[in-house]
Symmetry: C2
Subunit: 335 residues, 2 copies
């Protein structure tokens, strides 16, 4: 010490798709921990669709990432030095440490995790925010009941794979919507979905009629756009539409496409509800325990897409998300 | 007897705005009641925005009106002859008797009403479907709490006038959105709304920022389109958007405009929910009693727009609704 801490910072507010020029690679000396702090080396960086929203300068559930700031990201770090009584070198900690090789923290908003219980990357996926999002979105916001029909879009993604598998645990009929035959085969053959719809090659509305003949009780939406509109045509009475995200719209330069079939909410006495997983922070432990149990029993399979590289690979890896090139949770493992 | 029963029948499925050619005026002999039936002469015919939806040949909460059928409408009839033990000549009955001068019924789905308690037309308005719609939409679907901020669109209409006044009874801040200075003045000066926004001359989004500075807790939507989108930008945390109707969209030939700001449901942890008042039929008595009480105490003022004429005036009167030419409940009083 001091070595060099390489970081990815936001250089410009992207318009439409995020381009490599919107980022800068910065270097700082590695900082030593002060009294009550610990320092760590980043092992895994999370890549999430929500990141696109954090780059726009408009009010949302979190303030936007400022120009010139280190990109916000969840990550797992390995503690290298500590002046905090609760952390020892060799500990692994999950937190919002940003896209950088080294981080210093006083421990607030972080969680120590045990690599003996689950692979470290899983604390960013099935046992991290995507898992929490799936759990509370489906069970609390969606108010899922046994025997219902669940449709999830972005089904092969970090959240979608967990949503569908929780719904199977709960005894539901599950239909996934994903892009590509390989993803669809994975959903039905590996994860136990009852059906999968390839939106790239199929007429989604027609396929929903076939695979959800009694209508959709819970539609968990990660994508928005035309797929949301198709799902709205197939709602069962008193259906719940869970608005988790709208990845198809995040890079739109012409504004968000509103769901023109929203009046089916009236005809079907249905509701569409949004949520932000942070509101459930006090119950993360409960969800993680239950999810870990299902994973241990083999009832939930964890799908992860691990890219190995350096922080400089973050921009290209993030693009994979919006191009639908990942299957399951996308993480960058720093070498 | 037998006299002539003149009727308005659906002649063609309208495209866009309903035109006079979409209707036909038919004549039949007046039918005498059979055993267990009564016959009556129509006194008041209800005109409702929902009627536009009944004319389209697509699945909804009610089957469409068939081509050649008498137009479906709520009305008040005066019993002229009866072979039903529960009804005597001179009784007044509310039901879905259609746009015709005479009707015969076995009493199912009808309600005897007392002209001494309220003007007959009010049983089609504040004490009829619009009143029920306002009551259950606001209190049940909207889950209104004392002290909240309520915004209602179509505020000068049959449902909107009641929604706003119920919200005032419940101790809420109420902002109405309506078309024209006269309607807006009526809302604030006569009905006690805290503010009114004239969407024809004001920037609704800006005006909402001014009149709902702490955000909207319940948005009761009768209109859809740009006004719904404006309201979505101003939701308070955990807001409820009650989807009652979308009169701005019913005549659209280019399809319904979806709310492009629907992702504010996510940011604001809000929900958008539709309902159909018929689902609350078992509780109409409860609502009518409470509404009648508030009307009696002068806390709810009944606004009605009565057009006097014959059934042949129905088509032109219906157009008034979609042109926003009525204030309060629009009824056709047959001469």
């Amino acid at each position: 010490m001091p070595g060099t801490n390489r970081q990815i910072r936001l250089a410009a507010r992207p318009v439409g798709e995020v381009k490599s020029e919107d980022w800068s690679l910065a270097e700082e000396p590695v900082r030593e921990p002060g009294e009550g702090e610990f320092a760590g080396r980043t092992r895994y960086v999370s890549l999430d669709p929500a990141m696109r929203g954090w780059l726009d300068d408009r009010p949302s559930y979190l303030p936007p990432v400022g120009l010139g700031e280190v990109m916000r990201a969840g990550s797992v770090i390995e503690v290298t030095a500590s002046r905090h009584p609760g952390y020892q070198p060799g500990d692994f900690v999950v937190g919002t440490f940003g896209v950088q090789e080294h981080a210093v923290s006083d421990g607030r908003g972080t969680l120590k995790v045990d690599p003996a219980l689950a692979p470290l990357s899983t604390y960013l996926g099935a046992l991290g925010m995507p898992g929490m999002t799936a759990y509370f979105g489906l069970l609390d916001v969606g108010a899922l009941q046994e025997g219902e029909t669940v449709v999830v879009s972005g089904a092969a993604g970090a959240v979608g794979t967990i949503v569908g598998q929780i719904a199977k645990v709960k005894g539901c009929r599950v239909v996934g919507i994903a892009g590509g035959a390989d993803k669809c085969a994975m959903l039905t053959e590996e994860l136990g979905f009852d059906a999968a719809i390839d939106y790239r090659s199929e007429d989604v509305r027609k396929a929903l009629r076939e695979h959800a003949p009694d209508g959709i009780d819970v539609y968990f939406d990660n994508v928005g756009g035309d797929i949301l509109d198709a799902a709205l045509t197939r709602l069962a009475m008193r259906a719940r539409v869970v608005v988790c995200g709208a990845i198809s719209q995040y890079n739109s330069e012409s504004g968000v496409q509103g769901p023109s079939n929203y009046l089916s909410l009236l005809v079907r006495r249905a509701r569409m509800e949004g949520f932000v997983v942070f509101d459930y922070a006090k119950r993360y432990g409960e969800a993680a325990l239950e999810l870990a149990g299902w994973i241990g029993e083999g009832r939930i399979k964890v799908k992860e897409h691990v890219v190995r590289g350096g922080v400089e690979d973050f921009p290209a890896t993030l693009q994979m998300l919006f191009r639908g090139e990942n299957t399951g949770k996308l993480v960058l493992e720093l070498q």
